[in-house]
Point group: C2
Chain length 220, copies 2
């Protein structure tokens, strides 16, 4: 795996031991697999545009779909996809040392339009299962017409960078420790709630197991 | 307030009544105030780069700070800042109608470097209080040297767009309703956890009220 230069993500101003890049493909996969919404950066009329969109991860590619794909990415234009999980606030003794615990992956490349029907179907399966495991087999599959109306782009995972910050503030052994202030982290956790039935459902329609069992589980 | 064209955010493929843009400044402020990490899009060497970073909101500007600011945004380069809250999955009867409930704000412009020391201090106060209310007065304030080492950029809130999707799937009154499948939404909520003290703190150091009272509260 070839990594580009690690960008300075600015979630904290200082890169120390607790904030570091990773060259481990497993770290990249873990960050991608923990989410389902990315921020896709494209250049439109010479200006950057950052659009939230869903994605799925394959072995070699990240897949995105839909109208952004078809409209903004018609040519051989470079894109950047960033996935970020915010794990909490880092509350230091000084304002200057405040920061965020997070995991972030950034993927760079020129996406490839998926034209092979089998790969397209598999990409949509990955996209669906990524966000909603079990739904691909449960819900009605895309028709031929729906497939044709969907643009799917594949972005190689070859050029990517990962940054992770974990743990306590960095000023616990500096002069500010003498201030006698509390310091630490405030964790942030995303949790799936109880399924909300569509009001148009007939009463008594049971929630399928693959949906019901996510309630109360952690996301991210 | 002047809004640019509403981008098609692709979080769902179809824009119907449940997914719409807003021209209300209050909606923009609410989305910005509910978060503290944005995705900043810049163009570096002709390629888009999307970087997660913290922000603060003023009356007229969004503020970001730090090394990304100083490195990537030296010139009069256009940027795009996007803030997204994912509120849940939309589980429809057909795969094609699956989507995401979300609130997203996108701000476009050429940022201004903040040079006035008072505005810079106020911007850092907003940044700090935005993420960690109460910390600006509690923690040690930035020294003159720290202030000088910090680049702060202001991005006007004048050109922005907001998109929000809420509610049930869109196929409850279509032909797929006859499939007899469960459909609805699966909410996702971020919650602040219990404060984790820095292991280097002396034992018995009390957690300040403004930190302790966030435990169990919703974020986003």
């Amino acid at each position: 795996m070839t990594y580009g230069p690690l960008p300075d993500t600015d979630l904290t101003r200082h890169r120390r031991l607790r904030e570091q890049g990773s060259l481990d493909r497993a770290d990249l996969d873990a960050i991608l697999d923990a989410g389902f919404v990315c921020h896709l950066g494209v250049i439109v009329d010479g200006r950057p545009m950052v659009v939230p969109t869903v994605y799925g991860r394959g072995e070699r590619d990240l897949y995105v779909h839909g109208s952004v794909a078809s409209r903004s990415l018609a040519g051989d234009a470079p894109v950047c996809v960033t996935v970020t999980h915010v794990d909490g606030l880092v509350l230091a003794r000084s304002v200057f040392e405040h920061g965020v615990n997070y995991r972030s992956a950034m993927i760079h490349g020129v996406p490839r339009k998926v034209t092979d029907p089998d790969e397209k179907t598999e990409a949509l399966r990955l996209l669906t299962e990524h966000a909603a495991p079990g739904q691909w087999d449960y819900a009605r599959a895309p028709s031929r017409k729906e497939l044709a109306a969907t643009t799917v782009l594949a972005l190689s995972l070859d050029v990517a960078s990962v940054k992770i910050r974990t743990g306590a503030p960095d000023d616990g052994d500096g002069p500010d420790a003498a201030l006698g202030l509390w310091a630490g982290t405030l964790p942030l956790t995303a949790t799936w709630g109880a399924p909300v039935p569509d009001p148009l459902l007939p009463s008594g329609q049971p929630v399928p197991d693959h949906v019901a069992r996510r309630e109360g589980t952690r996301h991210g």
